[in-house]
């Protein structure tokens, strides 16, 4: 088992109030799964993401990553786990504006044990994998949104992480570019990459093989894609069609409606 969360709670203190962001959550994810975590804002999906990504430690419960318990690890040990086993993709890319694509991709290697002479080659390889070998020297302000997210994905992949964690990876992209990025995720999944993607958009979630729905810090539905309601609406993930606005339209409004309903 790659990810094993057991009775995980996370309590934040906001003044006198105690907020249970995660409330006894139990979840297993195996190798080469493609999981979408859905839920309204405030349902705890970001907190779950942070816990899985070792950015945050649960208040109680246990988290094993690849068979190793992480609950008692110190800050340095957790940093090492993030460096070697986790690849993050953020909604707003989080690229360093002063660095070109190559340097941005190289960033995790700086904190790893990779020798400097091996870094260049690794960066080129992974940039090629995300289809950006012709944008190596470009800075983020010279790249489009989709290209920026590809750089970010390349950066996440550079250390061959056990899990690729993506938090609303298409949130800042138009629908066509979103589909391109999701296509890249599909390709990575086919190559054996474990992916956990947090989203509230059904059009994103349909790319996954398993959909986890959260509410109030708990999993309330955990089904393979075939059994989840979204696959009822859209039987198969569609490739980005030329002029795909038409097909996108209803799905978008659907997800938005879902959001409003739950919040």
């Amino acid at each position: 088992m790659l990810i094993r969360l057991k009775d995980v709670t996370k309590v934040y203190r906001m003044g006198v109030e105690r907020i249970h962001a995660l409330d006894g959550l139990t979840l297993d994810v195996t190798q080469n799964e493609y999981v979408a975590v859905m839920g309204p804002s405030g349902s705890g999906k970001s907190t779950l993401m942070n816990v899985i990504g070792c950015l945050d430690r649960p208040t109680s419960g246990s988290y094993e990553l690849g068979g190793r318990p992480t609950t008692d690890m110190g800050a340095a040990a957790l940093a090492r786990v993030r460096n070697e086993r986790i690849g993050f993709v953020f909604q707003s890319y989080e690229l360093l504006p002063r660095f070109n694509a190559l340097k941005n991709v190289e960033l995790p290697l700086i904190y790893s044990k990779t020798a400097w002479w091996a870094r260049r080659r690794l960066c080129h390889q992974v940039l090629e994998r995300v289809g950006l070998s012709d944008r190596v020297k470009h800075r983020p302000n010279q790249l489009s949104g989709g290209e920026k997210q590809r750089v970010a994905i390349a950066r996440a992949l550079i250390n061959n992480p056990a899990i690729l964690l993506a938090d609303e990876p298409t949130g800042n992209l138009d629908s066509r570019t979103s589909q391109e990025i999701l296509g890249l995720f599909d390709q990575l999944h086919q190559e054996g990459q474990t992916i956990v993607i947090v989203t509230h958009e059904a059009s994103v979630a349909v790319h996954a093989r398993r959909v986890i729905r959260m509410r109030d810090g708990r999993v309330y539905s955990d089904l393979p894609i075939e059994e989840d309601p979204i696959s009822q609406m859209q039987t198969a993930p569609e490739p980005p069609a030329p002029g795909g606005q038409g097909t996108e339209g209803p799905r978008r409004s659907q997800s938005r409606a879902q959001e409003e309903k739950s919040s």
Binding site: A76, A79, R80, R82, N83, F90, E94, P108, K113, N159
Partner: protein
């Protein structure tokens, strides 16, 4: 190999942090320049003060050395108390034979000369020079005073034994009497006695500190000749075998002289033995104290500069909160973040130190020019920043960077990555 891995990775991280810091400084040139002003001023003033002091110290030391740091002066001296405090001068003063055995009894003494002083008018034909200093010397005098005979010959044993009327002149004295360049064999009147010139002796060493006002118009005659002419006031100059032995030589001479002069135990000395080395070490001590005090005072301005560094590093940390969050998310350990910001502060300070040293170098050459133009006798004065001051400046600058960069760096290292990534 495994043992080497840790230090190598650290070195790699250090180099990367340094490059990163340089990039950061390049993007904020004006800010970096303004921030380091304090450090620049601090380092510049410390280095300039040290340079000037070093120049002064070396100037004085070279004077000491030219004068001879292993010299001992033995002079008669009436004691302040005891039965001899009212002794007449002829009891206190030295006589030549008192020093006959000094070298045999004082093993640390290398050379000894008796020196008598007289003032005479010199006549040559119809020309005369008044008030010429006449030195009555022993042969060792040339080596002790480092004034050798440039032309002709020094006094011989026969000159000494028979108290012959022979003399040496300085070039100035020769010129004043308008003698030929090669005037050896000529006879001059020294006072009322005829002396034959046997050589030309080197003039007194140029010195700003010692022998000021001493005329270069001098004549030397054998000591015994002078003694027989009229028992001049005399002292004894000795050299020890080395500067380190000067205190020992001093003790030996004192012991020897007390016995020769029949002083009973408890009687005060009727003479003084002065050692130049004592003044030298005192001077060195004073110079050191001045250097330390000046560096300390000016070092305070470095601390003021340090506060500027801390301020700008805090700004840098809060500006780059998201970057710190990202770096942590991709696996930067807190120590790596700490190192990055610390290195940035240190690099900033080192650049300030470099600029400060360049400013100090400019000041130093300016001071050198002013001193050379404005003060006579200072041709040999040369202020410069010694290597240790360069090292010290960089060390101090780095220290300021570490001390004042620590708080911002710790702040960065302790940032919660989730909070940092949410930061706007």
């Amino acid at each position: 190999m495994i043992l080497l891995r840790g230090p190598l990775l650290l070195a790699q991280l250090l180099v990367q942090s340094a490059f990163l810091a340089l990039g950061q400084i390049r993007t904020h040139k004006t800010r970096a320049a303004l921030t380091t002003v304090g450090i620049v001023i601090g380092v510049a003033s410390v280095s300039t003060v040290i340079a000037v002091l070093t120049g002064f110290k070396e100037h004085v030391l070279s004077q000491f050395e030219a004068f001879g740091t292993n010299k001992l002066y033995v002079v008669p001296d009436r004691p302040d108390k005891g039965p001899l405090r009212r002794a007449p001068w002829h009891i206190i003063r030295f006589t030549p034979e008192q020093f006959d055995d000094i070298k045999r009894h004082c093993p640390s003494v290398e050379q000894v000369t008796r020196v008598g002083f007289m003032n005479r008018t010199i006549h040559f034909r119809d020309r005369s020079v008044e008030n010429v200093r006449v030195l009555a010397i022993d042969p060792a005098w040339h080596r002790i005073e480092n004034r050798h005979v440039e032309l002709g010959r020094p006094f011989s044993v026969i000159d000494e034994d028979q108290a012959r009327p022979v003399c040496l002149l300085t070039p100035k004295a020769r010129d004043k009497l308008r003698l030929d360049r090669d005037c050896i064999g000529q006879e001059i009147l020294l006072g009322s006695r005829l002396f034959r010139i046997v050589g030309i002796v080197e003039p007194h060493l140029e010195s700003a500190m010692f022998g000021q006002g001493e005329s270069d118009v001098e004549a030397c005659i054998p000591f015994m000749t002078a003694w027989k002419m009229g028992q001049p006031w005399m002292l004894v100059i000795a050299t020890s075998k080395s500067t380190e032995l000067s205190q020992e030589a001093r003790a030996e001479i004192r012991f020897f002289l007390r016995r020769v002069r029949n002083l009973k135990p408890g009687d005060p000395d009727t003479f003084r033995v002065e050692v130049l080395e004592k003044y030298l070490s005192q001077f060195k001590q004073i110079a050191m104290v001045i250097t330390i005090v000046a560096s300390g005072i000016v070092g305070i301005s470095l601390l003021a500069g340090g506060v500027g560094i801390m301020n700008i590093m805090l700004v840098s940390v809060s500006e780059r909160t998201r970057e710190i969050g990202l770096r942590k998310a991709v696996g930067a350990r807190p120590s790596a973040v700490l190192l990055q910001f610390l290195v940035e502060a240190v690099v900033l300070c080192l650049l300030g130190g470099l600029a400060g040293l360049m400013v100090a170098h400019g000041f130093t050459s300016l001071i050198n020019q002013i001193i050379k133009a404005g003060i006579p006798d200072a041709e040999h004065y040369h202020a410069y920043i010694p290597a240790w001051a360069v090292v010290l400046s960089f060390g101090f600058a780095a220290g300021v960077g570490i001390v004042f960069g620590m708080f911002p760096a710790l702040k960065a290292a302790r940032l919660d990555p989730i909070e940092a990534l949410r930061h706007e």
